[in-house]
Symmetry: none
């Protein structure tokens, strides 16, 4: 492990604690608020909460692993020799990235089997993307990192293209009240996901030693909060708007409409 | 305990953490989504969630036991002398295997007492199967392992036969929309259950030392994810489809049908 200043050690330590609390908060909010969502969109909200719950578990483990990797005495952080387990992130992504794609497609409620097919294809690509990233992440050799990064970018770009171009026709079929939001959800996915390959290459483009450790850990933490917790709340808002517009559609003769007659 | 390389130790460590997270995710999904299932099939989904919950508990214990069995300092994994408790798996199976059989039979909703009778008979056979496996698992003597494996295979094969041939006539009585899925659930059971006797014999067919330990632990982890979490989600999907087809059957005069009149 790299030697860190106390400030660097604490920044990572507190970031991990922050993300654990944020994921827990998002999970409980999504699970409780699920009861206000119409049956058709409930599964999207359930999956959004499960994504943040899985992330909460892994940040709890990452926090403990970081805690064990250094001992802080009299203001100095010293490596204990106990390894910091980076693999938790990849185990997390293996589960959560396919589910993130699924929650977006579920809230769109595509007709027939189209949604299931699209979600399955993108979930498989997401698993391949994560598996390709791992051998690069655990390597300190720049060329090895670039090789696996490039391989991982292939499924990454296919997913981004599928979400962006492949879903464009489905956007037109969304109810008026949420069309803009569903379209934004694709942009948010593209932008938040871009954090990951950028954080990955930080140690390859000049960030070294302790700065590389801090940059990667804090970078992934920010990316996870945006791509999972913030994205989950956005999905919840789409589901809520759709719930309201479905209620209006099924009761065209609402009290207001009756008064107008 | 066998000496393991850091890579071998970490692979098992991360597999256990992965299974814990997967079982937790499946449990929460099944318990929450239970509200979207018609009353007749709710118990099948409840039981599916209880199976993954029991497995989550045991993988949490197995993870801790593995963590205590080795100490990792400066990239070397050394056995601490603290035993790795393999019995957690058998305690888990003693509870979950009878419940897995039960969830399949519950979702089929056989008429009268037929379901209860079938589920009880298969559950008793499952308990005998697990009890016969354990004396073999804790033995390092190949002939002892083969003896108990063979004894355990007798109830194993009876269960497989009962599920496959005994349930065939009931498949024909399933609603059209799920007949294929219910039939697939039997195949999935047969295939995922086959992992267990195969993983069991890995140390008897040439896998030795550290490779045997890693093969058995990762093998059982994969088998448990497929036979419990993936199977549970499949049972949920059958229950959801049956819920929809029951709703349609009980409201043949939907608003669209009324307009057509």
């Amino acid at each position: 492990m790299e030697q860190l200043s106390l400030g660097q050690y604490s920044l990572v330590y507190n970031s991990f604690s922050f993300v654990t609390a944020t994921m827990a908060a998002a999970t409980v909010f999504l699970f409780l608020s699920r009861s206000q969502i119409a049956s058709h969109y409930k599964t999207a909200v359930t999956v959004a909460g499960i994504v943040t719950m899985i992330a909460m578990y892994h940040y709890f483990r990452i926090f403990n692993s970081w805690d064990q990797a250094y001992s802080v005495v009299n203001g100095v952080a010293t490596a204990t020799g106990h390894p910091f387990n980076d693999a938790y992130r990849y185990v997390d992504w293996l589960l959560t990235v396919p589910l993130l794609v699924t929650e977006l497609i579920l809230v769109m409620r595509l007709s027939g089997n189209e949604g299931t097919k699209k979600a399955s294809r993108l979930a498989i690509l997401a698993v391949i993307m994560v598996l390709f990233g791992y051998p690069g992440e655990i390597s300190n050799v720049s060329s090895t990192r670039w090789l696996w990064w490039s391989l991982s970018m292939i499924p990454f770009l296919i997913i981004q293209f599928e979400l962006f171009v492949g879903l464009r026709s489905s956007i037109a079929l969304q109810p008026d009240s949420v069309r803009g939001m569903v379209s934004s959800a694709r942009y948010i996915t593209v932008v938040t996901w871009l954090f990951y390959p950028i954080v990955f290459i930080l140690p390859m483009i000049g960030l070294t030693g302790a700065n590389a450790v801090v940059g990667v850990q804090v970078g992934y933490s920010v990316a996870d909060v945006l791509a999972k917790a913030a994205f989950g709340l956005f999905i919840y808002n789409i589901a809520l708007k759709k719930t309201h517009s479905d209620v209006e559609a099924s009761h065209p003769l609402s009290p207001d409409a009756l008064v107008a007659l």
